[in-house]
């Protein structure tokens, strides 16, 4: 019970801290004497922390470790892709986009191509991507809370949604840069500190307890390090490599089971509501589809079909990041294009640092919590690990810190997305003012909540991967070609968005149906980017070529603004005319009180 109190107070502390910082930085007043510091711009580093804080979702905090636990080396593409997306963003988009003056993705469409119709279409896809991204966050929040308290999963999802909406209503997201920057450091601490402690314990204990567990390089399945009882809540299909004796109560392989069962090599079905009991040292059956023994777990692309979906995944993540609605709005805070690029560079560093830890936790989970492989609920690995490594008060504290980090992840990403989606809803769909923004916020939080409760949960990283694929197939072509290709027209952009987005949404529907009816769909439907992204690009190019009359008349002017380097003066002259050059100012003012 004490563990639950610890974890609960961790989550609670994060919620309070988030409220407090948002409230403080938007409410308290500076003293009359120092009012000249108001014109401070956000430093690239702080802005980068804010971008990372908003970006590191539950998929990163919990999902990556879970995938590493299950899929091993193949899962490493997730953290790599989540980070590398910013490389594409930095190289091709960040600076020109900032110079274009656009705040949201629909803004960019309108600024570049001058079409209200395209703007509306872009708004629709922003809403789709946002919802698709929030739903798994809420589902995981439900699961995390159900881990701590004996409540159904919808409670956690509702709690997070309510906290986010209340915070937005209360104005807590007005000083969002400070809040999100804090969230990044909080999450980094919450994952790094427990990882260090658990690694120390692992080494201090002389590696694996009793030397009974399978090491990570052996060609054997992982083994249970203690007697383990597992409640199977959803039906699973398990693959067994080494024959195993176990006690089961419920239904296995289509027959009622009560007492000792023998599983030979092959696949075995377990119905919902069954309790399995494994004794210490026996090898772990693994959900079908995941590598069963540790050697193939450690080797990349263990079966050939994976290669295709791996490339698809890389493409989706690499090109999808630039199309995420909550990422781009953060770049608006940068004063100019160069700062936008510098911010992205810092984001790359911050994310690379963060993603070291989930990977280590994933590897530790393979040793200490293999029972998750049986239920398939590997997203819980991070939260279950501490108690398995360090039973007692130390485990409680580590668990509390990790839970706090997980709730920071739920809150920051969900708030960012809800704010972005409701901004787009209120400007482009509802066309109204403050009350409408509140209404839009309620919609942007309520709809994903309803979906999160209604739709069955799958691995979070897979669902999040789908929203990256949607972003890569809709906004990426428009951003890349909009920035770099003169002949883009709004008709081409709209056609590409419809084709790319339509294909992804169709495969999402097919995949969902297939999951409910026995998983007949090939893997391309769960990772469609390798087909949809080129299709979208091709459509944009061909249709734009076919409608040259629709090239905006002021395209040369817009492109000049986007591509002219900042210090060439197209955007800086003005400041020089009004305030003089930097050297002039510092010479006059001796660097006093004019904080530029």
């Amino acid at each position: 019970m004490s563990a639950k109190i610890w974890a609960l107070s961790g989550a609670f502390a994060v919620i309070i801290a988030t409220f407090y910082i948002g409230w403080r930085s938007s409410r308290t007043a500076s003293t009359a004497q120092d009012f000249l510091v108001a014109r401070r711009t956000v430093r690239s580093r702080r802005n980068a922390a804010a971008v990372s804080g908003e970006y590191l979702s539950a998929a990163s905090f919990l999902g990556v470790a879970g995938l590493v636990l299950k899929d091993g080396a193949d899962a490493l593409w997730y953290p790599i892709g989540f980070t590398a997306g910013y490389l594409a963003l930095m190289l091709f988009v960040a600076a020109p986009l900032r110079r274009s003056g656009a705040y949201t993705l629909p803004d960019f469409c309108e600024a570049r191509l001058g079409s209200r119709a395209l703007r509306g279409l872009a708004a629709v896809f922003v809403v789709f991507i946002g919802i698709l991204y929030v739903v798994p966050q809420l589902q995981l929040a439900g699961q995390a809370l159900a881990n701590i308290l004996p409540v159904p999963t919808w409670v956690g999802a509702t709690v997070v949604t309510v906290v986010v909406i209340v915070n937005v209503f209360g104005g807590g997201m007005r000083a969002i840069t400070v809040v999100q920057a804090f969230q990044y450091w909080l999450k980094l601490f919450a994952i790094a500190a427990p990882t260090f402690v658990m690694c120390l314990l692992f080494i201090g204990n002389g590696g694996l307890r009793d030397g009974q567990a399978t090491t990570l390089t052996e060609a054997l399945p992982p083994t249970f390090t203690q007697n383990t009882e597992i409640d199977v809540r959803t039906p699973v299909l398990l693959r067994v490599e080494d024959p195993v004796w176990l006690a089961a109560r419920g239904e296995t392989d289509g027959e009622p089971a009560m007492g000792t069962v023998y599983w030979g090599p092959g696949t075995h079905e377990v119905a919902a509501g069954t309790t399995l009991h494994f004794s210490k040292g026996s090898s772990v059956p693994v959900v079908a589809g995941a590598p069963a023994d540790n050697e193939s777990w450690l080797a990349p692309a263990s079966n050939g079909g994976d290669l295709f979906s791996t490339y698809s995944l890389i493409l989706a993540l690499f090109l999808g990041t630039m199309g995420l609605p909550h990422v781009l709005v953060r770049f608006y805070t940068n004063p100019d294009g160069r700062a936008a690029r510098r911010t992205t560079l810092h984001v790359l560093l911050l994310l690379s640092l963060f993603y070291l830890f989930p990977i280590m936790l994933g590897a530790l989970s393979r040793l200490y919590v293999p029972e998750l492989l049986v239920t398939g609920q590997t997203d819980a690995a991070v939260l279950n690990l501490p108690h398995s490594i360090a039973p007692g008060i130390l485990g409680d504290i580590l668990g509390a810190v990790l839970t706090a980090g997980a709730f920071a992840a739920f809150l920051s990403t969900s708030s960012g997305l809800v704010v972005s989606v409701s901004g787009v809803l209120s400007t482009d769909v509802l066309r109204g003012r403050v009350r409408d923004f509140r209404f839009a916020t309620a919609v942007a939080g309520g709809v994903p909540l309803a979906l999160a409760i209604a739709v069955r949960q799958t691995d979070i990283s897979l669902t999040v991967g789908m929203s990256f694929a949607l972003a890569a197939s809709t906004f990426c072509p428009i951003l890349l070609l909009g920035v770099w290709w003169r002949k883009l027209t709004w008709v081409g952009a709209a056609a590409g968005m419809i084709v790319g987005g339509g294909l992804v949404l169709a495969s999402l529907v097919i995949n969902t149906i297939s999951n409910l009816t026995g998983g007949w769909a090939p893997s391309v439907f769960s990772q469609p980017a390798i087909i949809t992204v080129p299709a979208a690009f091709l459509t944009v190019i061909l249709v734009s070529k076919a409608t040259p009359a629709k090239i905006p008349a002021d395209v040369a002017q817009i492109r000049l603004r986007m591509h002219a380097p900042d210090n060439l003066g197209l955007t800086r002259d003005r400041a020089v005319a009004s305030f003089g050059t930097a050297e002039e100012r510092s010479r006059l003012a001796d660097g006093r009180h004019r904080k530029e």
Binding site: S26, A29, S30, A32, F35, L36, A38, R39, R40, T41, V42, G101, A102, Y103, T104, D107, E110, A111, G114, G171, M173, R174, A175, I176, T177, Y332, T333, N334, P335, V419, S422, G423, V424, S426, T427, R433, V434, F437, A440, R561, L570, T571, D573, R574, A575, A577, S578, F579, G580, L588, A589, R592, H593
Partner: protein
């Protein structure tokens, strides 16, 4: 039937907004051809260059000669099936309408009148735009002589006792003048506008001493938002001039900028005398006398740039202080600093 004719007429008027040398002329000619059910229709500007719909007719040379004749005589020339009608906008020849085909005389006359009206409307819109631009330029130059005098006097008084402070104030004054008078584009950023406010407030604090307490807070998220020049500064000047100066004792002025959804909200608040809400309404409507032109002007400029949703909001009551709220979208097509 009536709907399609009205729709066509509206389309023609829209296309003629830029005048007879604009980009929409061909499309307007096409519309006129369909409306008159003629074989060919052309619109020519004063240079005599005709734009034909659907394309140039075989009797192109004859028609051109006809256009030349009309441009000289300023009268209707030719006879059915080829007629050319002069287009007089504001009693001044602006171009020629040529119709070839079996159109009724009255129909051609009405069509030419419609074209003339569309051209007149276009001209009015253009001149309204010019008037707004002129207004903006006029507002920019509006620096209170009273303030300049006070500021310079205070600086002069400080020269011997506090030379460092007076030097800094002098620089603030230079910044303030530079910002208010410099030649620049139509739009600036919130960051620059706040900087201008700060220089102004620094000077006012020197003038008013401890009577003026100031708070300026702006969220970093909105610093990059583009907005028209000198929108905030007149509001702050108003707050100081009407809220603090006329009374004895300390007064507070608060300026804050925050993000709210896709908008940026900036408020200027003083705890001075305030005013009757009805008076505030009069002032915003531009009937408040020469003393408060600034507020109405800012309101009108905001509306013309961002649309009717985005005017000033004034919250006030007698003796309760005044709060003026500006709401601007973070992105508006065409609004770019520089």
């Amino acid at each position: 039937m009536a709907v399609s004719v009205l729709g066509m007429a509206r389309h023609i008027a829209d296309e003629l907004k830029e005048g007879l040398s604009g980009t929409g002329v061909r499309s307007a000619a096409r519309g006129l051809r369909r409306l008159l059910d003629a074989d060919f229709v052309a619109l020519a500007d004063l240079s005599g260059r005709a734009v034909w719909a659907p394309d140039e007719p075989p009797f192109y040379a004859d028609a051109n000669a006809l256009v030349e004749r009309v441009l000289h005589s300023e009268n209707r020339e030719g006879r059915s099936p080829l007629v050319a009608v002069p287009l007089h906008v504001d009693h001044e020849l602006a171009g020629v309408l040529v119709v070839a085909g079996a159109s009724r005389r009255a129909a051609v006359r009405e069509a030419s009148k419609w074209v003339v009206e569309a051209l007149e409307r276009g001209r009015l819109e253009a001149s309204a735009e010019q008037a707004a631009q002129a207004e903006l330029r006029a507002l920019r130059a509006e620096i209170s002589p009273h303030f300049v005098y006070n500021a310079l006097t205070v600086i002069a008084a400080l020269v011997s006792s506090e030379p460092d402070r007076s030097r800094e104030l002098m620089l603030d004054f230079a910044d303030y003048i530079r910002y208010s008078l410099a030649k620049h584009g139509e739009y600036t950023t919130v960051a620059d506008e706040f900087h201008a406010i700060e220089t102004y407030l620094a000077l006012q604090r020197a003038v008013l001493g401890d009577r003026l307490q100031v708070q300026v807070r702006v969220a970093p998220e909105v610093l990059a938002v583009a907005l028209p020049y000198l929108v905030l500064q007149p509001l702050v000047e108003n707050a100081v001039r009407h809220g603090i100066e006329p009374r004895t004792g300390t007064g507070h002025v608060q300026v804050r900028g925050e993000a709210e959804g896709n908008d940026c909200v900036i408020s200027v608040e003083d705890d001075g005398l305030g005013m009757d809400p009805a008076l505030a309404e009069e002032i915003l409507a531009g009937r408040g006398g020469s003393d408060s032109v600034g507020l109405a002007n800012v309101d009108r400029r905001l509306r013309s740039v961002y649309g009717p949703w985005y005017g000033l909001v004034v919250e006030t009551a007698t003796g309760e202080g005044t709060r003026v709220v500006v709401r601007i979208p973070r992105f508006q097509p065409g609004v770019m600093p520089g």
